[in-house]
């Protein structure tokens, strides 16, 4: 495939912006990728876990004799064995933060259990089959206690306390002082609209579950780890802290990783148990999470409730906003998984909201812990975009018109939101108009009127948002890249972050190829090994396009300058007369005067006397990169149309349009692939996926027969519009968008469904919008005399 048509001024191929096929694919389509379960370690033993069958209770008996007597079983560990080995429980880079109580953590349940699925004992055997035999032979008696499951119950005085060592179930709180000025705005407003929106619990569900293999060398005092993770350096630090050894004593290799979506940013306790057991036993230990474990104990996401109030003038212009967030973090949440600070900060989104106050609480419950999931803060968009439609309904305006009246336009920039964030360059209004245009919004409304008159339930939903991409603050501030050229002239790029599906081996090579004047085939990108790559915080936060490519770009520019200095000296030419094409430096106008990268490498490594005075020998450059702003804002508008079967309540998504601005695109295939994946996760989340618990805290979706992922027969054809406003925060002008698809899609689908049933006088504020839920809403309209079922009667 040769899609490279653009040519730069110097005559070299241009890769950035092209639909380049991926470097990763040949190995993956032939079954030659290497995922953690494919790693072969001699002498490895296999782990299986015994898990709690109840949400809360006291362990009254734990008998492992039957397991120890099971053929093939080598060891059985309980909480009493492993928990005492934990030196520092901080699963974060920076250790303890603030003075508050520590985030709850233990390797295995000890004394009591706090969610159904919590690991109680670890069985290690010659094979996974034998380990599971052993796990079945462990006898556990638990005296069940009353559990707290619903977040609304967690803060009641009568609620049982999830973690008895804490005073209550409040896990986090934002409680700013009252805002009299905002209250005055509300008191004087022409309209005040208040609504409560909730979203249900669903989960990341990467196709590859978690997995880890660890080997301890007692003589080197060194731990070797392969892990399915989003960040090998984070895994190294987490394990080193827990085990009380230095980072330098741990090597973590991240092989090919089958998706993460936030879930693999931090380790779960089972993954900590593996290296602890490997050191205790002096044998390598492997644990591959099975799907039931992943769904039951591999951590969940999303469960939130938000009450929003808008003060509006008579034209539907927002004068002020209040938002109150409630978040369920389960029992043992992952590091960084509480999103209330981010959600409340990002809430004003793409609209001019002059004054705003947020309050929030996060609560513990006896459920699986919360983890980050693609746009972990996205409930702000889910709530705000439903709210825009409620405002439209209340004021008798079209949802598109309400957004037009409030959206931030180019003339407003730079715009500082009422939450204190500054948009330097966004194009929210442009994406709104582009999406409406692609959707044929006005024509749809006309067709909708005709279809409604015929009794059909069709709807359209809009979602508009800004995405805080390229997050570069605190631990996430930087990424690094090393560029080196070897004796054969081949370019190697070593990156601090690593792809778990984001195509970085391709996109980073595209950037480097353009900067250096090299064919992509002459570039190899290496990643994912703490022993050979610079420190990086892990791939998440839509950071790679901004930070990783930024680091690679600047290291390449430094390499280019170095190559030109050496070549100018060699060719006795001025640097400004040189150009680089196909890994060869030549003098413009004198094609016979040229020197290739291989010869330059030979000079740099083997003939340092041939280098310009003061030039450092070797061909290697390294840059640790920080963009000029902690956020690189991207933005998008999603428009979805749907039709509902009035009898069954089944929702069919007909069209799905995304107009986005991620700045300069490196590879439109990758951009659209990221959007599509996120959009379908959001469609799945709203319509099919749910992680329900019964009132006792038993998880009800522990297989793919209960947890319904969308398939090819449910997904619409996604239509894209691209607006490219270069980001001012980085030289490439790129903005991240890895999370946006999953942020924007849920409210677009929810709004389309509510628009479809609006003629019935009903509205649904909670998901999932399963056929049962939608049919229930439709029948509630039918049984309420004030709401007429016949859409024809609704038509003016």
């Amino acid at each position: 495939m040769s899609p490279i048509e653009a040519v730069d001024a110097a005559g070299g191929a241009r890769y950035v912006g092209q639909r380049v096929a991926r470097s990763e694919d040949a190995r993956m389509v032939t079954g030659h990728g290497t995922y953690v379960d494919d790693v072969v370690v001699p002498g490895v033993l296999h782990a299986a876990f015994v898990r709690s069958g109840v949400a809360s209770g006291t362990i009254t008996n734990l008998d492992v004799q039957g397991a120890l007597a099971t053929p093939g079983v080598r060891a059985v560990y309980s909480g009493a064995d492993l928990n005492k080995l934990v030196v520092e429980p901080w699963l974060d880079y920076e250790g303890p933060l603030g003075a508050g109580p520590a985030r709850p953590f233990r390797v295995l349940a000890e004394g009591d259990v706090r969610f159904a699925g919590e690991a109680i004992a670890m069985v290690i055997a010659d094979s996974r089959y034998a380990a599971e035999d052993g796990a079945e032979a462990v006898i556990v008696d638990v005296e069940a206690r009353r559990a707290v499951v619903r977040m609304a119950d967690a803060l009641l005085d009568s609620a049982p306390v999830v973690h008895p060592e804490r005073s209550g179930n409040l896990a986090g709180e934002i409680a700013p002082p009252p805002d009299a000025e905002l209250d005055a705005i509300f008191a004087a407003a022409a309209h005040v609209v208040t609504e409560t929106f909730s979203q249900h619990r669903y989960a990341c569900v990467p196709m590859e579950t978690r997995g880890i293999v660890a080997s301890w060398d007692p003589y080197k005092e060194h731990l070797s780890v392969h892990a399915s993770t989003q960040g090998p350096h984070g895994v190294r630090t987490q394990i080193a802290r827990v085990m009380g050894i230095g980072d330098h004593q741990v090597r973590v290799v991240m092989p090919d990783v089958g998706g993460g979506f936030g879930q693999k940013m931090f380790l779960v306790p089972e993954e900590i148990a593996v290296p602890l057991a490997a050191r205790l036993l002096g044998r390598p230990v492997k644990w591959i999470e099975d799907r039931r474990e992943n769904l039951m104990s591999g951590q969940h996401a999303r469960e939130d409730e938000v009450t929003v109030s808008f003060a509006l003038d008579g034209d539907g212009v927002i004068l002020g906003a209040k938002a109150d967030f409630l978040e369920n973090v389960g029992s043992f949440p992952a590091g960084g998984s509480s999103s209330i600070r981010f959600s409340s900060m990002v809430f004003p989104g793409p609209y001019r909201i002059p004054r705003y106050r947020a309050t929030a609480r996060a609560v513990f419950t006896n459920t699986n812990g919360r983890c980050s999931y693609r746009g972990p803060w996205m409930v702000e968009t889910v709530a705000r975009e439903q709210m825009m439609d409620r405002v439209a309904a209340k004021l008798g305006l079209d949802p598109l018109e309400v957004r037009r009246r409030n959206v931030i336009v180019g003339g407003d920039l730079p715009y500082k939101t009422a939450a204190g964030l500054t948009y330097d360059q966004i194009s929210a209004a442009e994406t709104l108009e582009q999406a409406a245009s692609i959707a044929g919004y006005d024509a749809f409304r006309s067709e909708q009127a005709a279809k409604r008159a015929a009794g059909r339930l069709v709807g359209v939903g809009i979602s508009l948002f800004t995405e805080p991409s390229g997050i570069a603050a605190g631990t996430l501030s930087t990424e690094a890249a090393t560029v080196r050229i070897g004796f054969n002239g081949h370019v190697e790029v070593v990156t601090s972050s690593a792809s778990h599906g984001q195509s970085l081996e391709t996109t980073i090579a595209q950037v480097v190829a353009d900067e250096l004047g090299v064919d992509m085939a002459d570039i190899t990108v290496s990643q994912g090994d703490t022993q050979s790559t610079p420190y990086g915080p892990g791939t998440g936060g839509s950071r790679s396009a901004v930070l990783s490519s930024g680091a690679a770009r600047e290291a390449s520019q430094a390499m280019r300058a170095k190559l030109l200095r050496i070549a100018a000296h060699r060719l006795e030419a001025a640097e400004e007369d040189l150009r680089i094409v196909d890994s060869t430096v030549s003098v413009a106008g004198t094609p016979s005067a040229h020197v290739g990268f291989a010869e330059l490498a030979r000079l740099a490594y083997s003939a340092p006397d041939a280098l310009p005075e003061g030039e450092e020998p070797g061909l290697q450059t390294h840059v640790r990169y920080r963009p000029s702003s902690p956020f690189t804002w991207s933005n998008a508008c999603h428009i979805c149309t749907c039709e509902i079967d009035p009898k069954t309540g089944k929702v069919t998504v007909d069209r799905y349009i995304v107009s986005e601005d991620c700045g300069v695109m490196i590879n439109p295939n990758v951009v659209e692939g990221q959007i599509a994946g996120g959009v379908v996760q959001g469609i799945g989340g709203v319509l099919y996926e749910q992680m329900p618990y019964d009132e006792d805290g038993n998880p009800l979706a522990t297989t793919f027969v209960d947890y319904l992922l969308p398939t090819t027969t449910e997904v619409p054809l996604i239509e894209y519009g691209h607006i490219e406003t270069p980001a001012p925060t980085n030289k490439g002008g790129h903005k991240g968008l890895g999370e946006g698809g999953a942020i924007g899609s849920p409210p677009a689908v929810i709004n389309a469904v509510n628009d479809a049933i609006a003629p019935l006088g009903v509205c649904i504020n909670a998901q999932p919008l399963t056929p049962e839920a939608v049919a229930r809403a439709i029948s509630s309209a039918a049984s309420t005399p004030t709401h007429r079922l016949s859409p024809a009667e609704e038509t003016p």
Binding site: D25, T34, G258, T703
Partner: protein
């Protein structure tokens, strides 16, 4: 034969990607684990181990099956083809593999072997499928990265390439 440990083992013979394998396996060993652990063919992936996700799809006597739901002993006398057995001489990608690459039909790549094997079997049965038939045929495999957009394109492109070849 029952062993002292109480685990029953069975001798089997089968062909995998054209090579003959003779092995003694536990009766409970799944075909997927046999392929991965005994044959060293780790391209067959396990995404759910309960027959829903399709990542472990292989061909048995030319028909697509879920190797997590089949025991190794059931492969006795059969011909098994895994994703590693699809590429042509010299590692040349088959039409489906090539189309997955050109159409951005994969991201993390974990589900990909199952899709590639399932699509190869599907197009062998139905070389000229409609879009609806492609959607139906691929609905037995789960992908979490791509939203299926590139996968649906890839199967259509592979079908067109196959028809072109027949002309």
């Amino acid at each position: 034969m029952p062993e002292a440990s109480g685990v029953t083992t069975v001798a089997i013979q089968c062909s995998v990607n054209g090579a003959r394998y003779t092995a003694t396996v536990e009766a409970r060993l799944t075909l997927a684990d046999f392929l991965r652990e005994r044959c060293g063919l780790t391209g067959t992936h396990l995404g759910c181990e309960h027959g829903v996700c399709g990542a472990c799809t292989v061909l048995v006597d030319g028909r697509a099956v879920r190797s997590c739901l089949m025991f190794a002993v059931q492969a006795q006398g059969r011909e098994v083809t895994t994703v590693e057995g699809l590429a042509g001489p010299g590692g040349a990608l088959n039409a489906v593999q090539e189309a997955f690459r050109s159409e951005h039909g994969l991201q993390c790549g974990f589900c990909t072997p199952g899709f590639v094997v399932a699509a190869t079997a599907f197009l062998a049965d139905n070389p000229d499928p409609s879009e609806a038939e492609i959607r139906e045929a691929m609905s037995g495999n789960l992908c979490r990265c791509t939203g299926y957009q590139g996968i649906l394109r890839a199967v259509a492109v592979a079908a067109a390439a196959g028809r072109e070849e027949l002309k």
